[in-house]
Amino acid sequence: MKTNRRIRRMARARKHKSELSLTSLMDVFTILVFFLLVNQSAVEVLEPPREIKLPDSIVEARPRQTLVITVSEQMIMVQGEPTISVADILATKDEILRPVMERLNQVRLTTIGLNTEAVAKTNEVVILAHKTIPFKVLKKLMSTCTVSGYSKISLAVIQKGSQS
């Protein structure tokens, strides 16, 4: 009699136990985690500042560890240090920008650590420039770079799918 009642109670309890089906959720999570982990492994070499909007292009070359010149709407920064303002560049008539050149030479001379030394030795420079910068500013920057010995110049862009 006692066992009989227990069996009935157990049966009722089993019927009431509702279960969440987590299988599909787990599938989604697993796929997401793998996707994000793979994405994560492609470490970004370049990190553009918030205020700079890079143009888009269809080129596929990956950035390398190089010297970085950032051109925002107001300032030129060489390896993260503000060097000259865009207004100054527009005002000057010189083709070579003295402050930038000094900073480039300084970077070359004062390298600390293997990583920055390798960067300075490559003679490569990447220019991250805002979309609306007039070309004459970039032209002066580029000729300054070549004069300072950084002869391989690359322009950073955001990758897009197709031409349109």
Binding site: Q40, P48, E60, I133, P134, K152, V157, I158, Q163
Partner: protein, 162 residues
């Protein structure tokens, strides 16, 4: 009595305890989503002449030059202008530029380099788009949705427009 009972227990569905795994996922996914970078940065390498002066001594007879002017694009061969492409509205007609370059590419198949000459007040964005158009052309296949990419002049140099 006891034998059928045991069989019943074995028939019961074996369940994995996935709570810990779920906890891990719940933590990992927001973390990875926050740190994920969806816009990918690539670089466009320029093929600049090695000396800063830019006057090569043995200049080749044929050089493709694309001039970006305020109102139009011009394609030249180093001596004269071959094609002039006016702006369509506020934008440059890059499609026409690519097509003009494709006809040049067909007659000079081994040529890889081109020079883009830019007027001083042109925006950087336009320069990049023109460089894209000079680099390659996307041709739509007539029988399918796919586009075929044809490389035009990938070694691009840049300079001032005369």
């Amino acid at each position: 009595m006891s034998r059928p009972k045991r069989r019943k227990r074995q028939e019961e569905e074996a369940e994995l305890n996935i709570t810990t795994f779920l906890n891990l996922m719940v933590v990992l996914i927001p973390f990875l989503l926050v740190t994920a970078v969806f816009s990918r940065i690539t670089i466009m390498e320029l093929d600049l002449p090695t000396s800063a002066s830019g006057t090569a001594s043995n200049k080749p007879a044929f050089a493709i030059e694309v001039m970006i002017r305020k109102t139009r694009l011009e394609v030249g061969d180093g001596r004269r202008v071959l094609v002039t492409i006016p702006k369509t509205g506020p934008k440059y007609d890059l499609r026409k530029l690519s097509e003009a370059l494709l006809t040049i590419k067909k007659s000079h198949g081994d040529k890889e380099d081109a020079t883009i000459l830019v007027e001083p007040d042109i925006e950087y964005d336009d320069v990049i788009h023109v460089m894209d158009a000079v680099r390659l052309i996307e041709v739509k296949q007539p029988d399918s949705e796919l586009t075929q990419k044809i490389s035009l002049f990938p070694a691009i140099s840049i300079g001032d427009a005369p």
